[in-house]
């Protein structure tokens, strides 16, 4: 009995696991080949069947956190990024070929995995949209972007502020807030104090003023992306692991793992629990990691959650803190959507719990940023908020690699300090998100597609399970492909988020206007008709 036979058998197990790519399979096969080729008669008799059974068992249980799909969608969807680099000086055609020919200096192993074309639907979809983006007037047949959680609903408010406050020159007289005097030179890499103070106040307002944040516990970074990576570097060594509840933001696979060598162990959440983390699942995942020989250094939660959009209830936060204490691990709480809570439920920040209750603060680190709540991803502003002096010291030193440009810091410090503007912005933002959410979800409901209960975020988590040809990852990707290439809508399939139940899709609606919604619904409806399974 060979391993290849086992692999085909494992296609339809009871709980559809992630289908690992061939690479993982190889890692199991190679050591086994040594066994199979026989180093002694003893092996043939008993060890091989035991070893094969063990690996088969491990295979089924293994939940991948690397590129999920071994069935890449139709070739038309994949666009190797290398294609758009015109060849000028370089002679060799390097497209998707892999390593160089003889005599060419190779790049590192780390880089090789990053260099090959992205096969995750998350990135493929984003690429496709940029090639043919929808525009109501100039490109009505283009692809509508529902795969990027970007908030365009309140840009008009920010535009107005800019127009009013940006002086004609940024080299103005003294006393002019926005001039560049004094900020062209080297600044503290972890951010100007004026911006830290402004961010601390903003964060406080965002969580409804129930917590006050201390600017001295903050480290600013060029976006939340490096903030997550820096924490990963500080809290874990190469080969260690973080537990992450699924479904999770696909970018974590890159931010937490790429250069750090850290592994992500999924903690599977289910629709029956509204995809809210359970302690049982946490314990299971932790033990599973232990069995794999992985040292768990922390738990990464996103609250409000991406991609589901729900909030962790207070009691669950207590459970998480207790769990972390018991296992002596860290907690990273990514609260980047804290200001995008439009529903009735109460958002409780980790900071609030720590202020109210007596838990060990040293293990908690919060991530924040202005890309979602203030709609300014282009300005690159992220923050690490920690209670741990050592982590703050180490993180500060690492910000030299990811500092925010000084003029942008000054501009944003000024904007965030404008209390009445911020007040108006936060309230209006919530209202507008809530409004679009309502219309969007209603449109889906009329199509027979239900969305998970959510009260935050820039997206909804839609159950299209009834529309997929087979209840599997492949079925889900088939639908995703249809939606992308026929309906010309880019949404993010649950498998890209490591969701254990097929058929769920994240649909971001904050790039749409009210008028766009019927168009989106109509396009989906046409595809949905063709998908209705018989009987």
């Amino acid at each position: 009995m060979t391993l290849t036979q086992i692999r085909t058998q494992s296609k339809e197990p009871e709980h559809p696991p992630r289908k690992p790519t061939g690479a993982t399979g190889m890692r199991l096969i190679v050591p086994l080949q040594g066994v199979v080729q026989g180093r002694g008669g003893l092996i043939l008799g008993s060890l091989i069947p035991c070893a094969l059974f063990y690996f088969f068992h491990l295979y089924l249980k293994r939940h991948r956190s690397a590129n999920p799909s071994s069935n890449p969608p139709s070739p038309s969807a994949s666009s190797p990024n290398l294609a758009d680099i015109p060849r000028t000086a370089s002679r060799s055609n390097l497209s998707s070929r892999g390593s160089f020919g003889p005599g060419r200096a190779s790049i590192s192993t780390r880089a090789m995995s990053i260099a090959k074309p992205n096969d995750s639907p998350y990135y493929i979809g984003l690429d496709k949209v940029s090639g043919n983006p929808y525009d109501r007037t100039s490109n009505p047949d283009g692809i509508i972007q529902l795969g990027l959680s970007e908030n365009r609903l309140c840009l008009d408010l920010i535009e107005k502020w800019m127009a009013k406050n940006l002086r004609d020159s940024i080299v103005g007289t003294d006393g002019d807030d926005l001039n560049i005097n004094g900020i062209t030179t080297y600044q503290p890499f972890d951010g100007l104090m004026e911006l830290k103070v402004a961010m601390a106040n903003f964060m406080s307002r965002v969580v409804g003023k129930v917590v006050s944040f201390d600017a001295s516990q903050m480290v600013l970074t060029a976006g939340a992306t490096p903030a997550v990576e820096i924490l990963s570097f500080c809290l874990a060594d190469h080969g260690n692991a973080f537990l992450v509840p699924t479904p999770y933001y696909p970018g974590f696979d890159r931010d937490m793992r790429w250069r750090t060598g850290v592994e992500l162990v999924p903690v599977h959440c289910r629709s029956t629990d509204n995809f809210i983390l359970s302690v049982t699942a946490l314990e299971q995942a932790y033990n599973h990691a232990r069995k794999r020989g992985l040292k768990v250094r922390g738990l990464l939660i996103s609250n409000p959650s991406n991609p589901v959009g729900n909030l962790l209830p207070r009691e669950r936060l207590f459970d998480i803190l207790n769990f972390a204490q018991e296992k002596n691990i860290h907690i990273i709480s990514d609260e980047i959507f804290a200001g995008s809570v439009y529903g009735e439920d109460e958002f409780v920040s980790m900071a609030q719990i720590l202020e109210e209750e007596d838990f060990d603060k040293n293990r908690v680190h919060i991530i924040y940023g202005l890309s979602k709540d203030l709609s300014l991803p282009g300005f690159r502003v992220g923050a690490i908020y920690s209670y741990n002096e050592n982590v703050l010291t180490a993180a500060k030193r690492l910000t030299r690699f990811s500092s925010i440009s000084a003029p942008s810091q000054r501009l944003l410090a000024s904007m965030l300090s404008d209390a009445s503007f911020i007040e108006e912005y936060i309230e209006t933002n919530k209202k507008r998100i809530g409004n679009i959410y309502g219309l969007f979800v209603e449109g889906f409901r009329r199509l027979g597609i239900r969305c998970m209960e959510s009260s935050a975020g820039l997206y909804c988590w839609a159950d299209m399970g009834k529309l997929i040809p087979s209840y599997s990852e492949k079925g889900e990707l088939d639908l995703w492909d249809k939606l992308l290439n026929i309906a010309k809508i880019n949404v993010t399939p649950g498998s890209a988020c490591h969701c254990i139940e097929p058929g769920w899709f994240r649909c971001c609606f904050t790039t749409l206007t009210e008028d766009d919604i019927p168009i989106v619904i109509e396009r989906i409806r046409k595809v949905a008709e063709t998908c209705k399974s018989p009987g």
Binding site: L82, I85, A111, D168, I170, S405, A406
Partner: protein, 420 residues
């Protein structure tokens, strides 16, 4: 009754607790001394004078003047059109206009002797990030880069800390003005081999920090031949290219490649930044220019961790595309730096102190070995401490730059705006 059990404190990673950040070295200790007691003409005339920070303030007035006159660069106009796109723009390709501006600026600095393709420009938040990124891409943990000594102390941190990559020094000495020789290259390569370390590339700084001198064409040719023979990469950090006192004295590796018809150029990568030439370190603008498609793609993706604010890109794009402005700026900046350099050299010579013949950069490489009690590293550090303490001058000791000969110091002269 509950029994209190002492919980072990939750641990941090090796990276977090490692000393590779280098902040305890004399190079940074001097900065701390300055931070605690900084010189100010009026407020603190007896404070420590900072001559250990390679910052360029000599031409700030030119920038100020430009920005005053061209306000459209710093705003999005009344009613803020174009703002939306920038607010949302987080594409790691960077603004095309900005990449074009950087490419054209780099061409101008080299007097048009090399061409740069905007699509090979990868943007990073500063050259620090660019160097680290390249190291991640070109080498695996445990591999090494060969770097000529003396070198910028920050490399110990930028190239090694998170990457796990090692630096193996290429020893240079004063007998030939610290130039890299083929023998030194081979010796360094052999050193690595003996330690069972795989060499992935050579990293040079041209013009050199801390020497303040450009690398000669013949030496560049030799280095290029060496890396080709060994089939490894070459990173040329040309961050001071616009600070060469005369344009003709600086030869970029790009020129050598062009002369060779770009044969075998995929192993070459150039790092640049606006922190030194334009005196804008606070803006965090760096770039990797690579002749290797795969490196460009990978670097671009990895730059997600270190993107430049779109506002800054927009602001600088128009400024750097203004060829009249840049031509004038580059010329005047070079002139002013040269004057400052000559002033310092003259002053030092009168005090009986010799410096290495320099022709670029924001500093000079001073020889204080006659003043050392013992021709050792300890002797050098003793002298350095007394310079900080008694003369209230922060200068950088050669040992922090891994110089094999004691007694050399780097003195920065461009980080003050007014005359002193």
């Amino acid at each position: 009754m509950a029994i209190e059990i002492e919980q072990p404190t939750v641990g941090l990673s090796k990276v977090a607790v490692s000393e590779t950040h280098g902040e305890d070295s004399p190079y940074f200790a001097g900065w701390k001394a300055y931070d605690e007691d900084p010189y100010d003409e009026s407020e603190n005339p007896s404070g420590v004078i900072q001559m250990g920070l390679a910052e360029n303030q000599v031409s700030f007035d030119l920038l100020e003047e430009y920005l005053e006159k061209h306000s459209e660069a710093s705003t999005w106009g009344k009613g803020a059109p174009g703002f939306r796109e920038h607010a949302l723009f987080q594409d790691y390709h960077g603004l095309k206009s900005f990449r074009q501006a950087i490419a054209s600026f780099m061409e101008q600095i080299r007097g048009g002797r090399a061409k740069f393709d905007p699509d090979r420009v990868v943007l990073t938040a500063g050259a620090t990030a660019a160097n680290e990124l390249l190291t991640f891409i070109l080498a695996d943990p445990g591999d090494a880069l060969l770097v000529p000594t003396p070198y910028y102390p920050g490399f110990d941190r930028d190239l090694r800390w998170r990457t796990g990559v090692k630096i193996v020094p290429i020893h240079c000495d004063s007998s030939n003005n610290f130039q890299v020789t083929p023998q030194a290259l081979e010796a360094a390569y052999k050193d690595a081999e003996v330690m069972n370390i795989k060499v992935r590339g050579v990293l040079i700084t041209n013009p050199s920090n801390p020497l303040g001198a450009t690398i000669q064409r013949s030496v560049l040719e030799e280095i290029l031949d060496f890396v080709t023979r060994k089939n490894i990469h070459l990173v040329s950090d040309e961050i001071y290219s616009g600070s060469a006192f005369s344009s003709s004295e600086f030869v970029s590796i790009a020129e050598i490649l062009e002369a060779r018809g770009y044969k075998d150029s995929e192993r070459v990568h150039i790092v640049y930044s606006l922190s030194k030439d334009l005196g804008l370190p606070g803006f965090r603008v760096g770039t990797i220019y690579s002749y290797n498609d795969k490196v460009v793609t990978t670097a671009r993706r990895m730059s997600s961790f270190t993107l430049i604010s779109s506002q800054t890109q927009h602001l600088l794009a128009s400024m750097l595309s203004d060829q009249e402005f840049t031509k004038n700026y580059i010329k005047i900046n070079r002139e002013r730096l040269r004057k400052r350099y000559e002033m310092i050299i003259e002053g030092l010579r009168n005090a009986g102190i010799e410096c290495l013949k320099g022709n670029a950069g924001l500093f000079c490489w001073m020889n204080l070995s006659p003043l050392l009690k013992t021709q050792t590293r300890e002797g050098e550090l003793t002298l350095w401490k007394s310079i900080i303490r008694d003369l209230k001058l922060n200068i950088s000791p050669g040992s922090s730059c891994h110089c094999s000969e004691p007694g050399w110091f780097r003195v920065c002269f461009a980080n003050m705006r007014s005359k002193r």
